[in-house]
Amino acid sequence: MKYSHEYTPPAPSLKVKLTNPFSNRSLELQAKLDTGADITVLPQYAISMLKLIPASRISITSFNGRKFWRYTYFVNLSFHNFKYKMVEVISTKRRDILLGRDILNKLKTILDGKKLRFTLHDP
């Protein structure tokens, strides 16, 4: 897969389908691979659109060391041939998804920054 030039510098990103686990509501959004993120982050508007229900509250440390809290939600995620059920995610005000290590650690990811390409496998 190619890096997306919608980011500067280009970033590994792909379309991810989000589904409410208990209804047929779904949404497809661009997701950036983020190996620094402990947990996957959804845009806030996706929570309302999918009518997800909060399940917990966790504390988050941001890049500048500031701590804040966020509600968590369980959602089904799928991209290419990969499907993940009941994934706990948080939300924030942003336009795309950050695909965190909670998902990336289930896959073998090869980033070729030189060629601006990446591959995902589940060996």
Binding site: G36, Q44, I53
Partner: protein, 136 residues
């Protein structure tokens, strides 16, 4: 609508008024204050959607019930280190896998606000170091 009165430092108010006048024009201070309040709430993860707000209030009630019994649960090997689900103030499930627990309790009790957390002495903590993440 709620009407409220606040005390603000004279100098702070003068500078705020000047900025609003310069950027928005006359009689726009109330509008800017409402925007600031909305942004403050949104940045802290409280959605403006009334349905989401209702869910969050119910989750907070369940969380309070969890915090009341947490110390007792930590000492109980049946629960310690595992995820538990709280609904209407009572424990309705326990599992080592949070996703499996969520699926089980939602299937049994319906897709309603059920609090799920780990039985541990500290709250769950995550790092999101991406610089573009909106933070308070």
């Amino acid at each position: 609508m709620v009407k409220t009165t606040i005390e603000v430092d004279d100098d702070l108010w003068k500078r705020f008024s000047l900025l609003v006048l310069r950027e928005r024009g006359e009689r726009k201070k109330n509008q800017v204050i409402v925007e600031l309040l909305k942004n403050y709430i949104e940045q802290r993860g409280l959605p403006t959607d009334p349905q989401q707000l209702e869910y969050i209030m119910r989750i907070e009630d369940e969380r309070e019930a969890f915090l009341k019994i947490r110390d007792k649960l930590i000492k109980d090997p049946k629960y310690s280190g595992k995820y538990i689900a709280i609904f209407q103030g009572a424990i309705i499930g326990c599992d080592e896998d949070k996703g499996r627990l969520a699926e089980t309790v939602y299937k049994k009790y319906g897709y309603v606000p059920i609090y799920i957390d780990k039985v541990a002495s500290t709250e769950r903590h995550m790092e999101i170091p991406s610089p573009e993440l909106t933070t308070p």
